[in-house]
Symmetry: C2
Subunit: 435 residues, 2 copies
Amino acid sequence: MLLEVVGTICYAIAGKCQQAVYTISMLESELFTKAAKESPKDEEALNAKLLIRAGFVQKLFAGVYSFLPLGLRVLKNIESIIREEMNKVGGQEILMPALHPIANYETTGRSKINVLFHTELASGSKLVLGQSHEEIVVPLVKHFVQSYKDLPLAVYQIQTKFRNELRAKSGLLRGREFIMKDLYSFHLDEGDFDVFYEKMKGAYRAIFERVGIGEDTYLTYASGGTFSEFSDEFQTLTDSGEDTIYICDKCKRAINKEIKEKYATCPDCSGKKFAEKTAIEVANIFPLKTKFSDAFNLRVKGEQGKEVPVIMGCYGMGLTRLLGTIVEKNADEHGMIWPTAVAPFKVHLLTIGEAAQAKGASLYNKLQKHGISVLYDNRGDVSPGQKFAEADLIGIPSRVVISDKTGDKIELKRRNEKEAKLVTEKELLGLLSNS
Amino acid sequence: MLLEVVGTICYAIAGKCQQAVYTISMLESELFTKAAKESPKDEEALNAKLLIRAGFVQKLFAGVYSFLPLGLRVLKNIESIIREEMNKVGGQEILMPALHPIANYETTGRSKINVLFHTELASGSKLVLGQSHEEIVVPLVKHFVQSYKDLPLAVYQIQTKFRNELRAKSGLLRGREFIMKDLYSFHLDEGDFDVFYEKMKGAYRAIFERVGIGEDTYLTYASGGTFSEFSDEFQTLTDSGEDTIYICDKCKRAINKEIKEKYATCPDCSGKKFAEKTAIEVANIFPLKTKFSDAFNLRVKGEQGKEVPVIMGCYGMGLTRLLGTIVEKNADEHGMIWPTAVAPFKVHLLTIGEAAQAKGASLYNKLQKHGISVLYDNRGDVSPGQKFAEADLIGIPSRVVISDKTGDKIELKRRNEKEAKLVTEKELLGLLSNS
């Protein structure tokens, strides 16, 4: 059966919905992480400062972070949104290894690129850690794809990547170890590739909308790097971004500074006025043409029986970078402000004083029965001031308070609004179910 | 709201059930993998032969495999069961990195263990790839745990491990890169540790029951290796196992051959008769005492104000090894026989002949509406013989056939039964919904 959950359809696998795996709610007294009073001194980036201070992540060393319960919940929410959109465009999910034979990189001429981590087997065979998976996915797909009938094909994974960056000072925006969704598409001809490439742009737009950064994210012409002549980036405006982009006043297409000199006017609409902005690259998509298919001799029999090389595209999106970007975009002087779709919990319930405990426990149960995820700050040994400050820092979208002062009512304050309001329990459940 | 799905409760996160992410059903014509006629020649282990032949996994090199769509679905089902049971015992899920500073291993004296993969940063700092996470989780937890009030604590992750094995000839049973659930528990004293340790044994039992190997899995006394004096293994009987165990006739507790000489009689019941069996170690649990807490000086203030070292336990379970074990245990000369709880799909629907197509498409939709996951072999260019052979190889629990011969009825055959039966559509939906 299909399950309708707050307007979303939930499918079951092998007879059961697997989402039972994530507990919907949690008592803050049981959460092992604790918010810190101060930001970490060894971080420069806002995203890392806030995420570490609030106990979402912990730094192991520069560019390498552990995800703690609150951070992992956000990451899983982002993963889920990305997976849905990749499945919608017909992507088939797989999972490729991180250990790669360097021989595959010699085949494509990429064995010397400097972001590679090197290691070796006990036998002496040379390996590198995957920084992308063209060298693995092409031989993998070649095993199954022989004819035009096997195309088009899109496979993707959500998996850990390793890049030996010289510097890693941007928190989750540039990791040495990070989680990425990488999709690879395979086509009989350029026409078919073009259709899918546009479809992927739409899927990416949908993801950015859903995680709450759609409005400030611009499709941007950029250099193709070692891959191809050009690529399309999605750039999200933030003060902390490493990139500079020029947004066309007329059509809102952007051009990355790295190739801006080639374009006096906008390639899309011939507009001449541009706004210069600082931005973070949240995703990129590349036409690969036959670069990797040629290297591994991935060819198919065409409809006329003649063998042709396969046209490819690749489509990356860093989940951890996206998480860091959402923080950079959604914060104030008090802390983070999570968009509901990716928030670790939908509601932060706070009880102040002994008398509020019983009412709090009852509301905690009711919210769960309404399918609303709650972090319940039931701690008795923490001052009201600290509870409020930490709730602002953690940034759950709705804060609900029960105290002596709220009387028969309950206080509801949205993290992204200034004013709190007093409502009845019934009103509260209605308001929270519809947001 | 809570969602009841075939007897299981599904919770929603952040207002939506995330299980929408896995598509419930699939057309086999769209699945990019293809079953092979022959087993791969470079594999010795039954699990690898069958999984590769059926297109569940692909070998990159010895001990390193890619998971393809069918294999990934099984892996996700196993992951989901393990996560549920870990959450039930109060485990808090986190995600730690694979890149570890070797300095942490020098602290614990494990920097020379020979399964470590070594690599380094561009700056020259030495790193190893995580083969287990004691060296990371203890400093992580130390940041948050200061008092007896912060204990007990159990944190776990489901994450990729790397072990530089000299040989890797057992398919998914011994990987150089593999997925593991590792839980670490932290206690104020031995008494509290003992209580949790027993709870974990129960959780492990529940997992083995749910994935269908409960009956043949024995709790086994084993050596503690570099960790501690002894450990408890869970050993599953199979002809292909690397271990030999001695099962007590009287109480069914087992002893690993490696320490059998220490025990003339069963340590649990003093029984004297043992059955010698070949088995696979599917999980192990270790008392770590204060070995790692001492190394990192993880101490807490006790109730009397005095500082005491924290008592630890660790609890590993390889997901990929478990998957391989399930295959070893559930196969016949025709292929795999998946237990329903982990099967990639619940039903394999086959249509034979042009006339069956419309009826097949209609049944495919109906099964999905009943929440039953289906792989629909709608391929027109494949012979009935090949369809049947591949269905047996892939091993989905229920095979449903529509053909000229089935008339108004539909043929249902369970993969683990000899006989097929003809049923009406209504009967079929009833039978499949209840299994």
